[in-house]
Amino acid sequence: MFSNILIYFVVIPLLMLGGLALCRNIKQIRAVAVAGSLALLALSVYLLVDYLGLRAAGATEPMLYTDSWSWFPTLGINLAVGVDGISIAMLILSAVILLTGSFASWKINPCPKDFFLWLVLLSTGVFGFFISIDLFTMFMFYEVALIPMYLLIGVWGSGNKNYSAMKLTLMLMGGSAFLMLGLIGIYYQGGHTWNLLQIAQSNSIAPDWQRFLFPMTFVGFGVLGAMFPFHTWSPDGHASAPTAVSMLHAGVLMKLGGYGCFRVAIYTMPQAAEELSWIFLILTGISVVYGAFSACVQTDLKYINAYSSVSHCGLVLFAILMLNTTAMTGAIMQMLSHGLMTALFFALIGFIYGRTHTRDITKMGGLMQIMPYLSVCYVIAGMASLGLPGLSGFVAEMTIFVGSFEHADTFHRFFTILACCSIVITAVYILRVVGKLLFGPVQDDHHRSLTDAEWWERTSTITLIVCVAAIGCFPNFFESLIRYTFSPEIFAVIGMN
């Protein structure tokens, strides 16, 4: 079992949990958290290099490193793992955000030990989800990733945290209720197996059942992907969550939704996806535009960023539903790009809030004079968000819209153009905040005495900025990552190119 590299993505977090349980002071806790997430990052980078090597050597299967260990054999449940380029990209993203999140919660208070225990439990679920190809295991890890949010927000959050924590948990678990029904249905209709690859390759779910099960699974994951009208947990949840949790949640957990929509709903039921994609295109189209407009009128920094996340994550689902390779590539890039960029945003907001004790942009101003380092980082994050070439947002959105425009019919074109408008609106709310917050006059004289970033804050932000710039500068790298995911035998049925 331990000869497979993927299993260590679950083993390391579990070891971290054990290590954290033994910790006696804050220094040990930090050491365990940073060492563990560095190990995960190193492992995921090694996996990437090894994966590309295998591909270069001529491996053409849709998934590599596949392995399966029997768990509940009578029901066909296995602990099955396997990754392709998309999963690896997600693993790296999760590791980066866990690392930077650990740095961002350097001085978390109270009960740092409990905080990190829940945070690591959450990431155990995240990593487990991305390496699984067995629907049961995948779903189990998915729920493991959701429930720690309740306590993380409820105990360490701010503002209206009780309400937000309960709303977030119940809405996400509500989504997973639909998901569970969908998955059990897939099991019975797809030939009594939970293995994703087998279901996708045999494509044996009857079209009538697909029409019923596809919305179940898509909505189930779509709730976590903040699809309109199931996005309302997102602004409240993000606004109340502590910094690292916002980072991890917007950066990684919302990607679970997009990844799941693609990997489970579309992968196993392509016919229904093609037939019903118009419904969800409308919904995600609304997400994109509505999220952006909502962000324009918010005054709380976290709410602005949360609505911006709704808009950007809506774009991920929007691109996935276009069902062609170009748009899918864009979706993957957008997942990475948004994950890193929004984590950077939330980290910066957390750092600023830790100093000014307010997130209301009407009560702050002129931060560029007071904390230039954090302000410059904020500008970079903003530029990435509104799609400045050279940073990640531009390449992702460009690819998505080019891919979407490949559809020649009016319906797709109309929604593509509509979604394109969100770029302009994004520029409005980003520049408004940047102008007001960073360059306006100083609103509160107490702010003049505030200090700039500490070393752990700098580590966290620089890591993220480097990643954002790397994606922006080397976008062609992604095409080679996801080339084999769309293997002909899976997508031939819907004539996807």
Partner: protein
């Protein structure tokens, strides 16, 4: 009469031996030695529980002209009930040391064993006469147990409510049986089964089955036969409440499965499938909706256990071996989760006398381990992975859907939406313990060794029963999937 037939009833005989030994010890022990009655009962019962796992016990056997039979499934469900009863007996030790109870503590253990004997008969009978004897043996001593704190008003009130509803539901059950006898001319399960299959559908059969379901539905506290539950759970002493909520319920669920899926199997599609369908929806939904509003922990768990009974019934819905295995597994997991919750409630009640949910505010700061155990129990009851409750819920849904009709998908969807409602109120407990910042949480205390031991066992069960797959795999094997 061939007396060797009694040897077929290995578990029943063993239980009676334990009962007699405990009774003799309790009666003849000196005043000093009587203090150890609880441990003697636990020790003897533990040996008996181990005995239940011997391979010879699970061999199929029949006695008394087919009135009694046992097989691997029945032996297993009895073993599961034994494990639960053992945990309750350990949990009860501290409670039984209190002055008001100490003088009668032997009776508590004896009545537990006696009612368990009745449940054994319910499970193993192949004839309705024996079944009724089992049902009454399992019901009437429970009323005495509910009234154990006889000087407390709530306890007396609960006992009266329990006995009246028990007798009433027995009467309905017997009425149903008389219809069954009139229709089929027999009370043997197999002959009724054949006669029902040949006789076809009739109004009499529908009424008969409805009455029989009502009778057992009372023991299971299915809605609309649930009205006694909350008051009785609140009024009864905590160990009795936990016994009522897990063991009595688990046995009744198994008996329900046997009666419906074996005796009335032929009437599945025509008669009781839709009855059960409606019962499940009502039970889960109403149990959940009322649980949200409770302020007393025991009432809260009463309604939670009503809705859990609805989930258990999903195992019957498919009427298959898969369903039997899922039901047994659900009962097993439910025993551990609910007993963990009741263990914490009992420990807090014994040490501070608090049972209201407000008293749990800030518990994590003063008693972190108890709070953590309670949280695990709540998560397991709500079906959150990686705890055992997630697996049992998933498997019971999987078993129900194996039946395949669209209606069953709708039923499971309703049940799933209800899990969200249940998650809400389970999280309220977690919120009280972890998040609420009230002044004056219950003081830090150290619970007794027996309480801690029982809680450790429950926590091990919650963590291990799901992830360690051999439990469910072996249950699947026993059920013959």
């Amino acid at each position: 009469m061939d007396y060797s037939q009694f040897l077929a009833m290995k578990q029943e005989i063993g239980l009676l031996v334990v009962f007699l030994l405990v009774f003799l010890y309790d009666t003849f022990a000196s005043a000093r030695a009587a203090g150890a009655t609880g441990w003697v009962a636990v020790g003897l019962f533990a040996i008996f529980t181990l005995f239940g796992f011997c391979p010879t016990v699970s061999e199929p056997a029949e006695a008394f002209a087919g009135m009694y039979s046992t097989n691997a499934v029945m032996a297993t469900i009895k073993n599961i009930l034994n494990v639960g009863t053992l945990i309750i007996m350990i949990q009860a030790i501290t409670w039984a040391k209190q002055d008001a109870v100490a003088i009668r503590r032997g009776e508590f253990y004896e009545m537990v064993l006696l009612t368990l004997f009745g449940m054994y008969l319910m499970i193993s009978s192949r004839h309705f006469l024996l079944f009724v004897i089992g049902l009454e043996t399992a019901s009437l001593p429970l009323a005495a147990m509910v009234a154990f704190d006889k000087h407390r008003y709530e306890s007396r009130e609960a006992a009266v409510k329990y006995i009246l509803t028990a007798v009433f539901s027995s009467a309905i059950f017997l009425m149903g049986l008389s219809f069954v006898y009139g229709l089929t001319g027999s009370l043997y399960f197999d002959r009724i089964g054949i006669a029902v299959a040949e006789g076809g559908l009739s109004l009499m059969l529908i009424v008969a089955i409805a009455f029989v379901m009502g009778g057992i539905g009372f023991k299971l506290s299915l809605v609309p036969f649930h009205l006694w539950t909350a008051d009785v759970y609140q009024g009864a002493p905590t160990p009795v409440t936990s016994y009522l909520s897990v063991i009595s319920k688990g046995a009744a669920a198994m008996a329900f499965l046997i009666v419906l899926c074996q005796v009335f199997a032929a009437a599945y599609a025509d008669v009781w499938e839709w009855m059960l369908y409606a019962l499940i929806i009502l039970t889960i939904t109403i149990g959940n909706l009322f649980a949200m509003r409770q302020k007393n922990m025991k009432r809260f768990l009463a309604f939670s256990s009503i809705s859990q009974a609805g989930y258990i019934m999903l195992g019957i819905m498919s009427c298959s071996e898969l369903g039997t295995a899922a039901l047994m597994y659900y009962v097993l997991v439910y025993i551990f989760s609910n007993l963990a919750a009741f263990g914490v409630i009992g420990a807090i009640e014994n040490n501070t006398g608090c049972v209201s949910m407000e008293d749990y505010n800030g518990l994590y700061r003063t008693n972190p381990r108890l709070a953590f155990t309670m949280m695990l129990a709540m998560f397991s009851l709500a079906g959150i992975p990686p705890f055992a409750g997630f697996f049992s819920k998933f498997f019971i849904f999987t078993s129900a859907i194996s039946q395949g009709s669209v209606a069953i998908y709708v039923l499971v969807l309703i049940a799933l939406i209800n899990t969200i409602i249940s998650l809400y109120y389970y999280l309220l407990v977690v919120k009280a313990m972890y998040i609420s910042q009230e002044q004056g949480p219950v003081a830090t205390f150290r619970s007794s060794g027996s309480e801690r031991f029982a809680l450790w066992v429950c926590v091990a069960g919650i963590l291990g029963l799901g992830i360690v797959s051999c439990f469910y795999n072996s249950l699947l094997g026993i059920a013959g999937v």
